[in-house]
Symmetry: C2
Subunit: 172 residues, 2 copies
Amino acid sequence: MQLIADMAGLPKANLHYYFPTKEELYRKVVQQIFEIWLHAADSFDNAPGPVEGIGAYIDAKMEISRRHPDGSKVWASEVMHGAPVIQDYLETTLRDWTKGRADLIQRWVDEGKMAPVDPRHLLYMLWATTQHYADFGHQIETLNGGKPLSERQWKAAKDSVKQIILRGIGAV
Amino acid sequence: MQLIADMAGLPKANLHYYFPTKEELYRKVVQQIFEIWLHAADSFDNAPGPVEGIGAYIDAKMEISRRHPDGSKVWASEVMHGAPVIQDYLETTLRDWTKGRADLIQRWVDEGKMAPVDPRHLLYMLWATTQHYADFGHQIETLNGGKPLSERQWKAAKDSVKQIILRGIGAV
DNA sequence: ACACAACCTGACCAACCGGTCAACAATTTT
DNA sequence: AAAATTGTTGACCGGTTGGTCAGGTTGTGT
Protein backbone atom coordinates (compact mmCIF):
# COMPACT_ATOMS: atom_id res chain seq x y z
CA MET A 1 0.00 0.00 0.00
CA GLN A 2 2.90 2.32 0.76
CA LEU A 3 4.37 1.63 -2.66
CA ILE A 4 1.07 2.14 -4.44
CA ALA A 5 0.54 5.40 -2.56
CA ASP A 6 4.03 6.57 -3.49
CA MET A 7 3.49 5.80 -7.16
CA ALA A 8 0.10 7.52 -7.06
CA GLY A 9 1.67 10.53 -5.36
CA LEU A 10 -0.34 10.64 -2.15
CA PRO A 11 0.19 9.60 1.48
CA LYS A 12 -0.69 6.07 2.39
CA ALA A 13 -3.33 7.22 4.88
CA ASN A 14 -5.05 9.12 2.10
CA LEU A 15 -5.08 6.02 -0.08
CA HIS A 16 -6.78 4.20 2.77
CA TYR A 17 -9.40 6.97 2.79
CA TYR A 18 -10.54 5.96 -0.71
CA PHE A 19 -9.84 2.24 -0.37
CA PRO A 20 -10.33 1.19 3.26
CA THR A 21 -8.58 -2.12 2.75
CA LYS A 22 -6.08 -3.48 0.30
CA GLU A 23 -8.55 -6.14 -0.71
CA GLU A 24 -11.16 -3.57 -1.76
CA LEU A 25 -8.62 -1.80 -3.94
CA TYR A 26 -7.60 -5.12 -5.44
CA ARG A 27 -11.21 -6.07 -6.06
CA LYS A 28 -11.77 -2.85 -8.01
CA VAL A 29 -8.74 -3.59 -10.15
CA VAL A 30 -9.87 -7.12 -10.94
CA GLN A 31 -13.41 -5.98 -11.71
CA GLN A 32 -12.11 -3.40 -14.16
CA ILE A 33 -10.02 -6.04 -15.92
CA PHE A 34 -13.00 -8.34 -16.07
CA GLU A 35 -15.02 -5.62 -17.80
CA ILE A 36 -12.41 -5.20 -20.51
CA TRP A 37 -12.27 -8.96 -20.87
CA LEU A 38 -16.03 -9.23 -21.40
CA HIS A 39 -16.25 -6.35 -23.84
CA ALA A 40 -13.81 -8.14 -26.14
CA ALA A 41 -16.70 -10.42 -27.01
CA ASP A 42 -18.72 -7.63 -28.61
CA SER A 43 -16.92 -8.43 -31.83
CA PHE A 44 -17.95 -12.04 -31.37
CA ASP A 45 -21.64 -11.33 -31.65
CA ASN A 46 -23.63 -10.46 -34.74
CA ALA A 47 -21.05 -12.27 -36.82
CA PRO A 48 -22.41 -14.28 -39.72
CA GLY A 49 -20.04 -17.17 -39.07
CA PRO A 50 -16.94 -18.43 -37.31
CA VAL A 51 -14.44 -16.82 -39.66
CA GLU A 52 -15.68 -13.32 -38.89
CA GLY A 53 -16.74 -13.95 -35.28
CA ILE A 54 -13.80 -15.92 -34.01
CA GLY A 55 -11.37 -13.99 -36.19
CA ALA A 56 -12.53 -10.71 -34.71
CA TYR A 57 -12.46 -12.18 -31.22
CA ILE A 58 -8.86 -13.28 -31.63
CA ASP A 59 -7.95 -9.82 -32.90
CA ALA A 60 -9.68 -8.17 -29.96
CA LYS A 61 -8.11 -10.43 -27.35
CA MET A 62 -4.65 -10.14 -28.86
CA GLU A 63 -5.04 -6.38 -28.73
CA ILE A 64 -5.95 -6.60 -25.04
CA SER A 65 -2.87 -8.71 -24.37
CA ARG A 66 -0.82 -6.08 -26.07
CA ARG A 67 -2.35 -3.04 -24.42
CA HIS A 68 -3.13 -4.38 -20.96
CA PRO A 69 -0.49 -6.99 -20.24
CA ASP A 70 -0.43 -6.26 -16.52
CA GLY A 71 -4.20 -6.47 -16.30
CA SER A 72 -4.08 -9.86 -17.93
CA LYS A 73 -1.45 -10.98 -15.44
CA VAL A 74 -3.50 -9.82 -12.47
CA TRP A 75 -6.46 -11.74 -13.81
CA ALA A 76 -4.33 -14.84 -14.32
CA SER A 77 -2.91 -14.56 -10.82
CA GLU A 78 -6.39 -14.18 -9.33
CA VAL A 79 -7.68 -17.29 -11.10
CA MET A 80 -4.52 -19.27 -10.34
CA HIS A 81 -5.03 -18.60 -6.65
CA GLY A 82 -8.55 -19.99 -6.86
CA ALA A 83 -10.37 -16.72 -7.56
CA PRO A 84 -10.63 -15.77 -3.86
CA VAL A 85 -12.22 -12.38 -4.53
CA ILE A 86 -14.10 -12.82 -7.82
CA GLN A 87 -15.45 -16.32 -7.52
CA ASP A 88 -18.99 -14.92 -7.64
CA TYR A 89 -18.28 -13.37 -11.04
CA LEU A 90 -17.04 -16.68 -12.36
CA GLU A 91 -20.20 -18.40 -11.21
CA THR A 92 -22.59 -15.80 -12.61
CA THR A 93 -21.40 -13.48 -15.37
CA LEU A 94 -18.66 -15.69 -16.77
CA ARG A 95 -20.76 -18.84 -16.62
CA ASP A 96 -23.61 -17.16 -18.51
CA TRP A 97 -21.24 -15.56 -21.00
CA THR A 98 -19.56 -18.86 -21.71
CA LYS A 99 -22.83 -20.70 -22.12
CA GLY A 100 -24.01 -18.09 -24.61
CA ARG A 101 -20.91 -18.28 -26.78
CA ALA A 102 -20.76 -22.05 -26.58
CA ASP A 103 -24.34 -22.18 -27.84
CA LEU A 104 -23.47 -19.82 -30.68
CA ILE A 105 -20.49 -21.94 -31.70
CA GLN A 106 -22.63 -25.07 -31.49
CA ARG A 107 -25.13 -23.40 -33.83
CA TRP A 108 -22.35 -22.75 -36.34
CA VAL A 109 -21.38 -26.39 -36.10
CA ASP A 110 -24.97 -27.48 -36.63
CA GLU A 111 -25.24 -25.19 -39.63
CA GLY A 112 -22.18 -26.80 -41.14
CA LYS A 113 -20.14 -23.60 -40.99
CA MET A 114 -17.33 -25.34 -39.15
CA ALA A 115 -16.16 -28.78 -38.13
CA PRO A 116 -17.77 -30.43 -35.10
CA VAL A 117 -15.50 -29.28 -32.28
CA ASP A 118 -16.31 -29.03 -28.59
CA PRO A 119 -17.22 -25.33 -28.14
CA ARG A 120 -15.92 -25.23 -24.56
CA HIS A 121 -12.47 -26.48 -25.44
CA LEU A 122 -12.35 -24.15 -28.40
CA LEU A 123 -13.07 -21.21 -26.08
CA TYR A 124 -10.38 -22.38 -23.66
CA MET A 125 -7.94 -22.54 -26.53
CA LEU A 126 -8.84 -19.02 -27.61
CA TRP A 127 -8.40 -17.66 -24.10
CA ALA A 128 -5.18 -19.56 -23.50
CA THR A 129 -3.52 -18.64 -26.74
CA THR A 130 -4.35 -14.96 -26.77
CA GLN A 131 -3.64 -14.35 -23.10
CA HIS A 132 -0.36 -16.21 -23.38
CA TYR A 133 1.08 -13.26 -25.28
CA ALA A 134 0.46 -11.10 -22.20
CA ASP A 135 0.99 -13.50 -19.31
CA PHE A 136 4.12 -15.06 -20.78
CA GLY A 137 5.17 -11.92 -22.59
CA HIS A 138 8.47 -11.90 -20.75
CA GLN A 139 9.30 -15.41 -21.94
CA ILE A 140 8.34 -14.55 -25.50
CA GLU A 141 10.44 -11.41 -25.31
CA THR A 142 13.42 -13.41 -24.06
CA LEU A 143 13.01 -15.90 -26.90
CA ASN A 144 12.79 -12.95 -29.27
CA GLY A 145 16.34 -11.95 -28.44
CA GLY A 146 15.36 -9.86 -25.43
CA LYS A 147 13.38 -7.44 -27.53
CA PRO A 148 9.61 -6.83 -27.33
CA LEU A 149 7.59 -7.91 -30.34
CA SER A 150 7.60 -5.28 -33.04
CA GLU A 151 4.52 -3.99 -34.80
CA ARG A 152 5.17 -6.45 -37.61
CA GLN A 153 5.75 -9.35 -35.22
CA TRP A 154 2.48 -8.66 -33.41
CA LYS A 155 0.69 -8.82 -36.72
CA ALA A 156 2.44 -12.07 -37.57
CA ALA A 157 1.40 -13.46 -34.18
CA LYS A 158 -2.22 -12.52 -34.75
CA ASP A 159 -2.19 -13.99 -38.23
CA SER A 160 -0.56 -17.21 -37.06
CA VAL A 161 -3.10 -17.71 -34.30
CA LYS A 162 -6.02 -16.98 -36.61
CA GLN A 163 -4.63 -19.15 -39.36
CA ILE A 164 -4.10 -22.21 -37.20
CA ILE A 165 -7.34 -21.96 -35.25
CA LEU A 166 -9.63 -21.09 -38.14
CA ARG A 167 -8.17 -23.90 -40.20
CA GLY A 168 -8.24 -26.10 -37.12
CA ILE A 169 -11.97 -25.73 -36.73
CA GLY A 170 -12.52 -26.28 -40.43
CA ALA A 171 -13.82 -22.78 -41.03
CA VAL A 172 -11.51 -21.91 -43.90
CA MET B 1 8.67 -20.63 5.80
CA GLN B 2 6.89 -21.44 9.06
CA LEU B 3 3.97 -22.88 7.12
CA ILE B 4 6.21 -24.90 4.82
CA ALA B 5 8.11 -26.24 7.83
CA ASP B 6 4.85 -27.19 9.54
CA MET B 7 3.59 -29.03 6.49
CA ALA B 8 6.95 -30.76 6.11
CA GLY B 9 6.89 -31.71 9.78
CA LEU B 10 10.06 -30.07 10.98
CA PRO B 11 11.02 -26.91 12.86
CA LYS B 12 11.49 -23.79 10.85
CA ALA B 13 15.11 -23.46 11.94
CA ASN B 14 15.79 -26.92 10.56
CA LEU B 15 14.26 -25.96 7.24
CA HIS B 16 16.65 -23.03 7.16
CA TYR B 17 19.49 -25.51 7.73
CA TYR B 18 18.79 -27.12 4.35
CA PHE B 19 17.59 -24.00 2.56
CA PRO B 20 19.40 -20.96 3.99
CA THR B 21 17.02 -18.53 2.36
CA LYS B 22 13.49 -18.70 1.06
CA GLU B 23 14.73 -17.73 -2.37
CA GLU B 24 17.05 -20.75 -2.56
CA LEU B 25 14.19 -23.07 -1.69
CA TYR B 26 12.04 -21.38 -4.29
CA ARG B 27 14.77 -21.66 -6.88
CA LYS B 28 15.00 -25.41 -6.31
CA VAL B 29 11.26 -25.74 -6.77
CA VAL B 30 11.29 -23.79 -10.02
CA GLN B 31 14.28 -25.73 -11.34
CA GLN B 32 12.52 -29.02 -10.65
CA ILE B 33 9.44 -27.84 -12.53
CA PHE B 34 11.60 -26.71 -15.40
CA GLU B 35 13.10 -30.22 -15.63
CA ILE B 36 9.68 -31.82 -15.90
CA TRP B 37 8.75 -29.24 -18.48
CA LEU B 38 11.77 -30.01 -20.63
CA HIS B 39 11.41 -33.79 -20.40
CA ALA B 40 7.95 -33.52 -21.92
CA ALA B 41 9.72 -32.91 -25.21
CA ASP B 42 11.29 -36.36 -25.27
CA SER B 43 8.15 -37.52 -27.02
CA PHE B 44 8.64 -34.72 -29.50
CA ASP B 45 11.90 -36.07 -30.83
CA ASN B 46 12.45 -39.07 -33.05
CA ALA B 47 8.95 -38.63 -34.40
CA PRO B 48 8.56 -39.23 -38.13
CA GLY B 49 6.26 -36.28 -38.55
CA PRO B 50 4.06 -33.64 -36.91
CA VAL B 51 1.11 -35.92 -36.26
CA GLU B 52 3.15 -38.24 -34.05
CA GLY B 53 5.55 -35.62 -32.65
CA ILE B 54 3.16 -32.81 -31.85
CA GLY B 55 0.41 -35.24 -30.93
CA ALA B 56 2.63 -36.91 -28.36
CA TYR B 57 3.85 -33.56 -27.10
CA ILE B 58 0.30 -32.39 -26.51
CA ASP B 59 -0.47 -35.61 -24.67
CA ALA B 60 2.64 -35.25 -22.51
CA LYS B 61 2.00 -31.61 -21.66
CA MET B 62 -1.67 -32.20 -20.92
CA GLU B 63 -0.61 -34.98 -18.57
CA ILE B 64 1.76 -32.60 -16.81
CA SER B 65 -1.03 -30.06 -16.40
CA ARG B 66 -3.13 -32.77 -14.86
CA ARG B 67 -0.52 -34.22 -12.55
CA HIS B 68 1.44 -31.13 -11.58
CA PRO B 69 -1.04 -28.27 -11.68
CA ASP B 70 0.67 -26.41 -8.84
CA GLY B 71 4.05 -26.76 -10.48
CA SER B 72 2.64 -25.26 -13.63
CA LYS B 73 1.22 -22.37 -11.62
CA VAL B 74 4.53 -21.68 -9.92
CA TRP B 75 6.22 -21.60 -13.29
CA ALA B 76 3.57 -19.27 -14.67
CA SER B 77 3.90 -16.99 -11.68
CA GLU B 78 7.67 -16.90 -12.02
CA VAL B 79 7.51 -15.94 -15.70
CA MET B 80 4.71 -13.44 -15.13
CA HIS B 81 6.88 -11.64 -12.59
CA GLY B 82 9.64 -11.35 -15.16
CA ALA B 83 11.53 -14.55 -14.29
CA PRO B 84 13.52 -12.91 -11.45
CA VAL B 85 15.23 -16.16 -10.41
CA ILE B 86 15.38 -18.28 -13.58
CA GLN B 87 16.09 -15.68 -16.22
CA ASP B 88 19.42 -17.42 -16.95
CA TYR B 89 17.60 -20.65 -17.77
CA LEU B 90 15.33 -18.82 -20.18
CA GLU B 91 18.33 -17.35 -21.95
CA THR B 92 20.27 -20.59 -22.19
CA THR B 93 18.41 -23.90 -21.92
CA LEU B 94 15.01 -22.68 -23.02
CA ARG B 95 16.40 -20.62 -25.87
CA ASP B 96 18.37 -23.59 -27.21
CA TRP B 97 15.48 -25.96 -26.71
CA THR B 98 13.10 -23.67 -28.55
CA LYS B 99 15.50 -23.15 -31.41
CA GLY B 100 15.91 -26.91 -31.82
CA ARG B 101 12.17 -27.63 -31.94
CA ALA B 102 11.49 -24.67 -34.20
CA ASP B 103 14.08 -26.01 -36.62
CA LEU B 104 12.49 -29.44 -36.49
CA ILE B 105 9.06 -28.01 -37.21
CA GLN B 106 10.48 -25.95 -40.03
CA ARG B 107 11.95 -29.11 -41.49
CA TRP B 108 8.54 -30.75 -41.43
CA VAL B 109 7.15 -27.72 -43.22
CA ASP B 110 9.89 -27.88 -45.82
CA GLU B 111 9.22 -31.56 -46.33
CA GLY B 112 5.58 -30.80 -47.00
CA LYS B 113 4.41 -32.73 -43.95
CA MET B 114 2.42 -29.76 -42.69
CA ALA B 115 1.24 -26.34 -43.77
CA PRO B 116 3.68 -23.44 -43.63
CA VAL B 117 3.12 -22.07 -40.15
CA ASP B 118 5.48 -20.02 -38.02
CA PRO B 119 7.14 -22.62 -35.74
CA ARG B 120 7.55 -20.16 -32.86
CA HIS B 121 3.91 -19.19 -32.72
CA LEU B 122 2.91 -22.82 -33.01
CA LEU B 123 5.07 -23.63 -29.98
CA TYR B 124 3.55 -20.74 -28.05
CA MET B 125 0.10 -22.05 -28.88
CA LEU B 126 1.04 -25.52 -27.69
CA TRP B 127 2.42 -24.18 -24.43
CA ALA B 128 -0.48 -21.83 -23.86
CA THR B 129 -3.22 -24.32 -24.57
CA THR B 130 -1.85 -27.22 -22.57
CA GLN B 131 -0.77 -25.16 -19.56
CA HIS B 132 -4.11 -23.40 -19.52
CA TYR B 133 -5.70 -26.57 -18.17
CA ALA B 134 -3.45 -26.31 -15.12
CA ASP B 135 -3.06 -22.57 -14.62
CA PHE B 136 -6.73 -21.81 -15.20
CA GLY B 137 -7.94 -25.13 -13.84
CA HIS B 138 -10.03 -23.39 -11.24
CA GLN B 139 -11.88 -21.39 -13.89
CA ILE B 140 -12.44 -24.51 -15.98
CA GLU B 141 -13.68 -26.35 -12.92
CA THR B 142 -16.11 -23.55 -12.13
CA LEU B 143 -17.42 -23.59 -15.71
CA ASN B 144 -17.75 -27.36 -15.38
CA GLY B 145 -20.36 -26.97 -12.66
CA GLY B 146 -17.81 -26.73 -9.86
CA LYS B 147 -16.56 -30.24 -10.46
CA PRO B 148 -13.04 -31.21 -11.59
CA LEU B 149 -12.74 -32.69 -15.05
CA SER B 150 -13.47 -36.40 -15.04
CA GLU B 151 -11.29 -39.03 -16.67
CA ARG B 152 -13.54 -38.90 -19.73
CA GLN B 153 -13.50 -35.09 -19.85
CA TRP B 154 -9.70 -35.00 -19.70
CA LYS B 155 -9.59 -37.33 -22.65
CA ALA B 156 -12.06 -35.15 -24.52
CA ALA B 157 -9.91 -32.11 -23.75
CA LYS B 158 -6.79 -33.81 -25.08
CA ASP B 159 -8.60 -34.97 -28.20
CA SER B 160 -10.08 -31.52 -28.83
CA VAL B 161 -6.72 -29.82 -28.53
CA LYS B 162 -5.00 -32.36 -30.77
CA GLN B 163 -7.81 -32.29 -33.29
CA ILE B 164 -7.88 -28.52 -33.68
CA ILE B 165 -4.13 -28.00 -33.70
CA LEU B 166 -3.21 -30.92 -35.96
CA ARG B 167 -5.89 -29.92 -38.43
CA GLY B 168 -4.86 -26.29 -37.95
CA ILE B 169 -1.33 -26.97 -39.10
CA GLY B 170 -2.55 -29.04 -42.00
CA ALA B 171 -1.07 -32.27 -40.70
CA VAL B 172 -4.19 -34.37 -40.92
C1' DA C 1 36.49 -44.04 23.84
C1' DC C 2 37.40 -39.85 21.61
C1' DA C 3 37.07 -36.21 18.30
C1' DC C 4 34.85 -34.07 14.81
C1' DA C 5 31.39 -33.10 11.79
C1' DA C 6 26.63 -33.07 10.52
C1' DC C 7 22.13 -32.34 12.09
C1' DC C 8 18.38 -30.45 15.05
C1' DT C 9 15.77 -27.01 17.84
C1' DG C 10 13.46 -23.30 20.95
C1' DA C 11 13.87 -18.75 21.65
C1' DC C 12 14.72 -14.52 19.88
C1' DC C 13 15.02 -10.29 16.63
C1' DA C 14 14.81 -6.59 13.23
C1' DA C 15 12.17 -5.26 9.33
C1' DC C 16 8.04 -4.85 7.07
C1' DC C 17 3.12 -4.45 6.28
C1' DG C 18 -1.74 -3.29 6.50
C1' DG C 19 -4.35 -0.44 8.97
C1' DT C 20 -5.69 3.33 12.59
C1' DC C 21 -6.21 7.81 14.61
C1' DA C 22 -6.20 12.45 16.05
C1' DA C 23 -5.57 16.73 14.24
C1' DC C 24 -5.85 19.75 10.50
C1' DA C 25 -7.34 21.84 5.82
C1' DA C 26 -10.59 22.57 2.16
C1' DT C 27 -15.07 22.63 0.38
C1' DT C 28 -20.00 22.79 0.52
C1' DT C 29 -24.44 23.68 2.82
C1' DT C 30 -27.38 26.45 5.55
C1' DA D 1 -20.30 33.51 8.59
C1' DA D 2 -21.09 29.57 10.82
C1' DA D 3 -21.68 24.84 10.67
C1' DA D 4 -21.13 20.55 8.72
C1' DT D 5 -19.24 17.48 5.54
C1' DT D 6 -15.45 15.87 2.90
C1' DG D 7 -10.67 15.42 2.12
C1' DT D 8 -5.62 15.23 3.82
C1' DT D 9 -1.72 13.98 6.65
C1' DG D 10 2.22 12.40 9.94
C1' DA D 11 2.81 9.52 13.52
C1' DC D 12 1.86 5.41 15.49
C1' DC D 13 0.61 0.23 16.35
C1' DG D 14 0.06 -4.83 16.47
C1' DG D 15 0.90 -8.78 13.93
C1' DT D 16 3.57 -11.33 10.71
C1' DT D 17 7.73 -12.72 8.27
C1' DG D 18 12.31 -14.24 7.00
C1' DG D 19 16.20 -15.17 9.27
C1' DT D 20 19.68 -15.91 13.36
C1' DC D 21 22.00 -18.13 17.17
C1' DA D 22 23.57 -20.67 21.11
C1' DG D 23 23.30 -24.96 22.72
C1' DG D 24 22.06 -29.67 22.27
C1' DT D 25 21.83 -34.35 19.80
C1' DT D 26 23.11 -37.82 16.52
C1' DG D 27 26.19 -40.04 13.48
C1' DT D 28 31.01 -41.24 11.73
C1' DG D 29 35.80 -42.05 11.25
C1' DT D 30 39.90 -43.44 13.99
